[in-house]
């Protein structure tokens, strides 16, 4: 379980007029399945996610993942419990897909890859259908393939908790759907707990088990998709007129 207690982050100098505050957020994210973080721009979704992934310091409050205090635990301990992938990934080093995924094993093997590591790497690559591409360099891949390679890296890390910051960014329809299906499989078949920031509420409704809606730095809604996919709830969260209709594959938010 991921539990946040009174977590807050202040941007800008405290007390100043232009300072933006995220939180305080207190929420429990259950183990297993996919939890989607949704909300308008600037609601604090990515901030909360990066704080859970200890890439951003919290100003106050505490975060526990599977009973470990993320804020104060050594980074190398946390790296075996959770993995996080941020939006922008650019490496100056030139890497093949397999080398990149191999770095996912660093928390376990400290860079000395064992046979066990190689198996995990192969499994992660196969899982994301990158087998044929594993010898290619990242700069020879399309955006969608590269995104899959990054996800393969955090899966190879073999952590119970996987945090992803907008992994569907810049993906076309086909690749976005594929990515979500693969994450669904990671949750169902591998038992990973996936927390994901999504922009498209319909993707969240279709593929996630829990939706956590944020607005102005605080959590405003938290529940299964059926509860969130309501005209009134979505309109309030997104400041937009939203109509939920019954689509062929579940509820569909219409807001165009």
């Amino acid at each position: 379980m991921i539990s946040l207690t009174e977590v807050a982050k202040n941007y800008g100098s405290a007390g100043a007029k232009d300072s933006v505050a995220i939180g305080p957020v207190s929420v429990d994210i259950a183990s297993g399945g996919i939890t989607a973080l949704v909300g308008p721009n600037g609601a604090g979704k990515s901030t909360i996610l990066t704080m859970i992934g200890r890439l951003l310091d919290v100003d106050s409050g505490s975060i526990e993942v599977a009973g470990h205090d993320v804020v104060n635990s050594p980074s190398k301990v946390v790296a075996k419990i959770l993995s996080i992938l941020r939006q922008e990934n650019h490496f100056v080093t030139r890497l093949t897909v397999r080398q990149l995924v191999g770095f996912g094993r660093f928390p376990h093997s400290k860079g000395r890859l064992t046979a066990e590591d190689e198996q995990q790497i192969s499994a992660a690559i196969d899982f994301l259908d990158l087998t044929a591409l594993e010898g290619r360099y990242l700069d020879q891949l399309s955006g969608g393939q590269r995104q899959r390679a990054y996800v393969a890296m955090v899966l190879a890390q073999n952590t119970d908790y996987v945090l992803l910051d907008e992994p569907l960014n810049n993906l076309d329809m086909q690749h976005a759907v594929q990515m979500m299906q693969q994450l669904r499989r990671a949750a169902d078949e591998l038992g990973r707990t996936v927390v994901i920031v999504l922009h498209d509420i319909n993707f969240a409704a279709r593929y996630s088990d829990q939706i956590l809606a944020m607005k102005d730095g605080v959590v405003v809604e938290h529940g299964p998709p059926e509860e969130i996919m309501q005209d009134a709830v979505l309109s309030r969260v997104f400041n937009t007129d939203v109509t939920v209709i019954d689509g062929p594959r579940g509820p569909l938010a219409v807001y165009y």
């Binding site: 200890r54 980074s75 996080i84 080093t93 030139r94 080398q99 078949e189 591998l190 038992g191 593929y207």
Partner: protein
């Protein structure tokens, strides 16, 4: 999108099964079990060398560079030796020249390791420690001594205590700059680089200003000291510079695997459990030690580190620092020893070694870059 992806069905099953570590472990084992069974995992590996061809190319380049290094070393030691071969005088002269070879080795060791490590820590492949104000500080100290104390000032900055003081000043300067910039609210490597460049530029202007006011003879003495000068190196510092450089280099080598991760940037490194800020601070401290050793020995070598690191990335084509460090050192040794050999025996101007590095090295660098099309 069939039953497998149906939300209702997997969700309920996951909730009931997912509540213990052992459970998760079991499921993850089945992950590798079912996939690796279908194919042989022995042919698939993720090491720093991607293929047999890559390995061959790496060792071929290393062999070539090793051969060239040996050639230039023998050349420096024996070419133009006035005494007949085999006589005691011949060996005496050769022994005196060994000092030059050692200086070249130490300088290259420092510059190559420092530049590669620095570019890894700062996650860029353009800026080198030379640009970050290290060498301008050296120039400012030397110029200041001559400016305030005249030609006698040159002797004031020579000697072992002065060497250690100067090295300490450079390391201190770098450490204060880094810790201030990396721990403060900036905590941004680009701002640090910018501040470094600005400080470097400021110190450079200060030195230029002081040099303007010097008398011609003072200026002449100073110039001789500021030019990257292998033949006229302060060899008396070698017994101290070598162990210090070796220790710094050994620490970098020992942490090479972490350097590989640091090169992926802050977010990825932190995700993989590397304390990025601490690691970067340590690397930059070691870099400043190495740069201080190199600069105190032979003065500024602005372009060498950049050239050597860039060529090493091109030829080695790997993330592994244990492969990059040796290659960058061999490239550096070939370039510096070659430049010294040519300048000394063809142009009789061994004092101006940096000129040929910047000229020929720059051309080689451009050719390699144009052909590969990336840094």
């Amino acid at each position: 999108m069939t039953a497998q992806l149906d939300r209702e069905h997997p969700r309920s099953s996951v909730r009931t099964t997912q509540d213990g570590e052992a459970q998760a472990g079991d499921e993850q084992r089945s992950w590798t079990g079912e996939t690796s069974g279908s194919r042989s995992s022995s042919t698939r590996h993720a090491g720093p060398i991607t293929s047999r061809k890559h390995a061959l190319r790496y060792w071929a380049v290393m062999g070539l560079l090793g051969g060239l290094s040996l050639f230039f070393t023998v050349g420096i030691l024996s070419f133009g030796n006035p005494m007949p071969f085999g006589s005691s005088g011949y060996w005496l002269i050769a022994q005196m020249r060994i000092e030059t070879v050692v200086v070249i080795g130490v300088v290259v060791f420092c510059q190559a390791m420092a530049t590669v490590a620095f570019q890894t820590a700062t996650n860029n492949r353009i800026i080198t420690p030379s640009i970050m104000g290290f060498e301008s500080l050296y120039v400012a100290i030397q110029t200041g001594a001559v400016f305030f104390f005249g030609i006698a000032g040159v002797t004031m900055v020579t000697g072992l205590p002065q060497f250690l003081m100067q090295a300490a000043a450079m390391v201190l300067f770098a450490t204060i700059l880094y810790s201030w910039l990396l721990s403060g609210k900036f905590s941004n490597i680009h701002i640090m680089l910018l501040v470094g460049v600005v400080i470097g530029g400021g110190l450079g202007s200060l030195s230029t200003f002081m040099q303007r006011v010097l008398t011609p003879s003072e200026f002449d003495v100073l110039t001789a000291r500021l030019f990257g000068n292998i033949g006229n190196a302060r060899a008396e510092y070698l017994p101290y510079a070598i162990p210090i450089a070796l220790v710094a280099g050994a620490v970098l080598w020992w942490r090479a695997r972490r350097l590989n991760v640091v090169a992926l940037g802050r977010n990825t490194a932190e995700n993989l459990g590397v304390n990025h800020k601490r690691e970067v601070m340590l690397i930059l401290l070691l870099v400043s030690v190495l740069m201080a050793m190199s600069t105190s020995l032979v003065g500024p070598m602005t372009f060498l580190g950049f050239l050597v690191a860039t060529l090493a990335y091109q030829f080695a084509d790997t993330y592994s620092h244990r492969m990059l460090f040796p290659m960058s050192m061999l490239i550096g040794y070939t370039v510096l020893a070659g430049a010294y050999f040519i300048m000394r025996n063809i142009f009789y101007a061994e004092g101006a070694v940096t000129l040929i590095i910047e000229l020929i090295g720059g051309i080689v660098f451009l050719i390699v870059l144009m052909r590969k099309g990336r840094l």
